[in-house]
């Protein structure tokens, strides 16, 4: 383009405009790329931080809309926003407001914000104000926030 586009050519004006537009487009796309690159590097940094921090592991997540049937075993943290039917064993379990668990649950720390039905064995139990809990619960320390609906057998160890 640069060789042929001289100021003397009659249709030069249009060419120049087209050229400018192209340039502008190219510029905008390059900035987008930069932004993407920046965000991805930021993610990498934040992920690296979580990995490097001792004692805080990344949680395993059952997302909303996800239905799991079977046995889950984990040494770490488990966040449940979906549905789990079966047996769960983990160090720390969080049942989110949208989460449903039906079955057997064993954990050190258990926070229930959603629905839980079944047999529970835990050390530290925290039931949120919108939670529904039904079953046999054996625990060491319990905290039920006002409004939490709980029924069944409670056994303190």
């Amino acid at each position: 383009m640069s060789i042929f586009s001289k100021n003397s050519t009659p249709n030069n004006g249009e060419d120049k405009i087209a050229d400018e537009q192209l340039d502008g487009y190219a510029q905008s796309s390059s900035t987008e790329e930069e932004i993407i690159a920046a965000t991805s590097s930021y993610e990498q940094v934040s992920r690296a931080e979580t990995v490097n921090r001792p004692g805080i592991a990344k949680p395993s997540i059952i997302s909303e809309g996800f239905i799991f049937e079977g046995t889950i075993t984990s040494d770490g943290i488990l966040n449940i926003a979906g549905t789990v039917r079966g047996k769960i064993t983990a160090k720390s379990v969080l049942i989110d407001a949208s989460g449903h668990v039906d079955g057997e649950l064993n954990s050190d720390q258990l926070v229930i914000k959603g629905h839980l039905k079944g047999e529970v064995n835990c050390e530290d139990l925290n039931v949120g104000p919108l939670a529904h809990v039904d079953g046999t619960i054996s625990y060491k320390y319990i905290h039920i926030q006002r409004g939490g609906k709980v029924s069944g057998k409670f056994i303190k160890n």
Partner: protein
């Protein structure tokens, strides 16, 4: 609150042991021991208080001990020093961290 109007209230002091059935129109504050049935609008079991028997009321606040049966039509609060065993019926419950709960828990209106 209780000192202002003691009409219809029952106070059981520390060291007092009461046996029988009690109908209290307003507040029952228990620091001693009650054995039997206790019905009141509002029941407060203080840290030294113990109730062995049937406990029913609108609002029940437990800092001490309640054994056998507890039924609350409005709110049941088990404080951190509280200990409840037996059959429990409630419409709204709160248990502070450290509270002791051992028994069957039933929601009076489970579909609300």
């Amino acid at each position: 609150m209780a000192e202002v109007n003691q009409q219809g209230c029952l106070f059981v002091g520390e060291g007092v042991v009461l046996k029988g059935n009690f109908e209290v129109p307003d507040i029952a504050s228990i620091s001693g021991v009650v054995e039997g049935e206790l019905t009141a609008k509002q029941i407060i079991i203080e840290a030294t208080g113990v109730v062995n028997g049937k406990l029913s009321g609108e609002s029940i606040d437990i800092r001490g001990e309640a054994n056998e049966f507890v039924s609350s039509t409005r709110s049941l609060i088990i404080r951190s020093t509280g200990k409840v065993t037996g059959s429990i019926h409630y419409s709204e419950i709160e248990i502070e961290k450290g509270g002791h709960l051992h028994g069957d828990l039933n929601n009076l209106n489970p579909h609300s």
